[in-house]
């Protein structure tokens, strides 16, 4: 009985997570959807432990998984904040190729040269002017 309940909860959680990751256009919601799927993974680990009788090991895996998920979410949130600070938007279109055409900051990607050193290309441009 309990196992069946577990399976129903697992399937519902996984479906909710996968649905929201497909349906949303907001990066923060994508992050939340990934968290929901990872909760399904924890449930599946516990179910596996209950079925094969290795509950202690399953608990150890689940605790480690929860710790890792916290770190993953923190880094995802940091990337979200940085993207929002840069563009003022969290639309999923930011990840596509279109973003580089729309937003001026992306088009003029600065080359990794020292700022004091004028590159030959720039000098050439000056000469042409």
């Amino acid at each position: 009985m309990l196992t069946k309940l577990f399976i129903v909860a697992l399937v519902l959680t996984a479906t909710a997570g996968i649905y929201s990751i497909v349906a949303t256009r907001n990066l923060l919601r994508v992050l939340i959807a990934m968290e929901i799927i990872s909760k399904a993974a924890v449930l599946l680990l516990m179910l596996a432990g209950a079925i094969n009788g290795q509950m202690a090991q399953a608990e150890a895996f689940a605790v480690a998984l929860i710790i890792i998920e916290a770190v993953v979410t923190a880094i995802g949130a940091v990337l979200c904040i940085a993207l929002h600070a840069k563009t003022g938007s969290l639309d999923i279109g930011l990840l596509g190729k279109a973003a580089q055409a729309i937003l001026p900051t992306a088009a003029q990607a600065t080359p990794a040269v020292l700022p004091t050193q004028a590159t030959p290309a720039e000098e050439g441009a000056h000469n042409a002017e």
Binding site: L95, T119, A121, A125
Partner: protein, 486 residues
Amino acid sequence: MGILFLLVPLICLFILNLPRRGAAAKLAPWVLGVVAVLQMVFAATSHLACWEPFIGFFTLPVPVALVVDPITAVLLFTIALVVAVVTVVGIQGDARDKVITSSLVLTVMAGMNGVVMVRDLFTLYIFLEITALSCFVLIATRKELRSLSAAFRYFILSGLASLAMVLASALVFMQVGSLDFALVAAAINGQDPATMTGLILFVVAFCIKAGAVPFHGWLPEAYSSSSSAISVLLAGATTKVAGVYAIIRLSSEVFAGIPGPAQAFMALGALSIIVGAFAAMGQKEMKRMLAFSSISQLGYIVLAAGLAGAAADVTVSLGGLQTSIAMLAIIGAVVHFVNHALFKSLLFVNAAAVEEQCGTTQLDQLGGLTDRMPVTGWTSVIGFLSTAGLPPFSGFWSKLLIVIALVLANQWVYAVIAILMSLVTLGYFLILQRKVFFGELRKGFEELKEARGALVGTSLILAGLTTALGLLFPFVLLLLQGFGLV
């Protein structure tokens, strides 16, 4: 022995963050260099017994087996080599950036060392996450919109891959009651639906991590938008260890003899070879072209890894050498892994040199650079000839091993694809070479100078290693045989 490869980077990470920012920034390249050299020494001598008395001091609080077998030792050496190249190329930015980036490189190194040494699925997941999480931040440190969006795209795809891996591990755990490689390999048969689902999820997870073809969306942007040193690290070691090495290990040890995953890896590997090569042809930017070339080359390794799983223990006799097709394929895959680290690092170092001197890597804005940057131009030729698999260079031998294994296993279609696509590789690198290095010097580049000494030196050393490994390959094979391989 294994624990040293985790402790050394982590202790140095601690030391690096002790002094004040300014001092730490000056210290950072030395710390990275020392770690890389120490790891090379440890990896090269890991088979000797002389380390055993010292290892007793370090024991893990958790019972995790860290095994250093010959393949692991070769990969540990390669990782250290790529980190050494990263150190010499140099991390750009102010003191804060330097300390943070160096710390993250050390974390990535510890994560990669863990990935190659572990022998159970859940610990593998933990080390993969450590590696991937540090990589997201490393890509984003350039703080441009392009790198941020590349990092987030990698974050989402890699996160989904990790979730697929955990779900698959849970399904396997349900059947087997353990996640140890040996126990899983003994118990798994791939018949019941739960295990089948698990295997499919594993294939998807590792193909996303490796960047094999239907799942390669994150890779070109991640490589081309990160800074020079980081793109060397990503292309040379990180994504290969995180995805491709895991495929080699799982396909040849854990899922050996189960037809499903092996066939899937072979098909996806061949697809990556084809799509990567043709996509590279159409690129307009140097680093993006190198990234697609990476996809194509990792296809060879994935193809060989799949073959190692499919042809588990068919013994063949090759020139008086008794070996199995699987062993031949694994050696081919590992040697191609090492070669790829060498020549792709070389090409990315040269891309960094071009970017620093010309301020751009757009192909149509460059031309005739060999006149002003002879070393960069000619080492690029060595790099791409090795990538295309031409005889004097090391790339030839690994591709030859893979093709021989494919032919012996009667996989003619894959063998023909592997050979034909080498010609396409030659094709797109000729385009690159002609547009960037050969021909008439483009207007505006008259004042151009050769890149700084560190970059030129690294290019020369890597080109020398590629050539030497190619010329001395029979001795390398003998050495591997001495280690108990082949």
